[in-house]
Symmetry: C2
Subunit: 216 residues, 2 copies
Amino acid sequence: MAKHKTKIPQIIIRRLPVYYKILKQLKSSSKDYVSSQDLAKLTGFSSSLIRKDLSYFGTFGRKSYGYDICCLFNQIGQIMGFDKQKNLIIIGAGHLGRALAYNRGYQERGYNLKAVFDKNSKLIGEKINNLKVRDINDLEKYLGNTPILVAALTIDNNAAQKITDRLIAAGIKAIWNFTNVSLKTPAEVLVEDQIINQGLCHLSCKLKQNDCLEFH
Amino acid sequence: MAKHKTKIPQIIIRRLPVYYKILKQLKSSSKDYVSSQDLAKLTGFSSSLIRKDLSYFGTFGRKSYGYDICCLFNQIGQIMGFDKQKNLIIIGAGHLGRALAYNRGYQERGYNLKAVFDKNSKLIGEKINNLKVRDINDLEKYLGNTPILVAALTIDNNAAQKITDRLIAAGIKAIWNFTNVSLKTPAEVLVEDQIINQGLCHLSCKLKQNDCLEFH
């Protein structure tokens, strides 16, 4: 399989989770191959875009067969680094932190959820999905002993930058940011802003374009 | 302000929530104007892309001043239909449904969370953020009496299509889908797949590209 040393453009990275989700579903069907036309129907992307995206990772298509589902699924997983183990912690044991703690998607993506932290003494010690909520005061000590790559941030906006600074000082390499704050971080620390309301924004925008909002 | 009758391309719609988030932060600062260069730093998009995107909605830029923050914020909100009221229900009162019920972003986007439904008799009747969890068996009756545009789906994958069919038969116009199922819906019903692990996928992919995964 072709190795790709060049950086994959951001815009393609954004589409990879969609391909991954669709291919995972196809894998559990009885089919072995999928055409770019079928992928277009399932993803909502155009088939020419799909062919362009997928050709970026090497050649998987076989004329008149289409793409090998299993092969493509594995390759996209590898490109996304799912074959490598990554330790993850969650900061904030509120409703969203709790939902993330029960999220079932970590293992297949190579993530190991190792700990949940909170500052609220009422929550500290409580078990969430078999993980005891730890005291945020013990963050540095914990990170000194356990190699963690990624921290999910589900805390109040006003505490976001301060906790981020502590996480970075303690060696965290990437932040999955659910707060509304544009975090300031050194260039080598990755931040992924997860706007939980993004889908609602898109729906609202499309409902408006379809004139569905005029009668409400 | 220029009215836009043409459909906004999907790819621009995807970026609107990011602009909205950044402009909201800027609005609470003391500045009145922002340059495309500063927006580029804050969004991670290139300044030429930003100028192109924003010119799509009319002309906001003033030479040597930049964009009027308040005006642009309001206009993007309008384009996303935030000025119109939209009723929303949540199907599934599990951890994610609960987190969504406590989400604070609805009001400013014109969404009114009206009800939460579940099939679990242990949860029915429980109050979540002042909303009593309703019995999913009462879904059709409820939707017959209350005009609801959007349903958030936070249920098991195996129930997703069946509930979707019921929602559509009862008049729902859009589905905010947190399940892993590619829902089959008529063309006039909008579906927005919210892949909760999307951010983790992007981070993993970028960590791999930065060679951060080799030592773990």
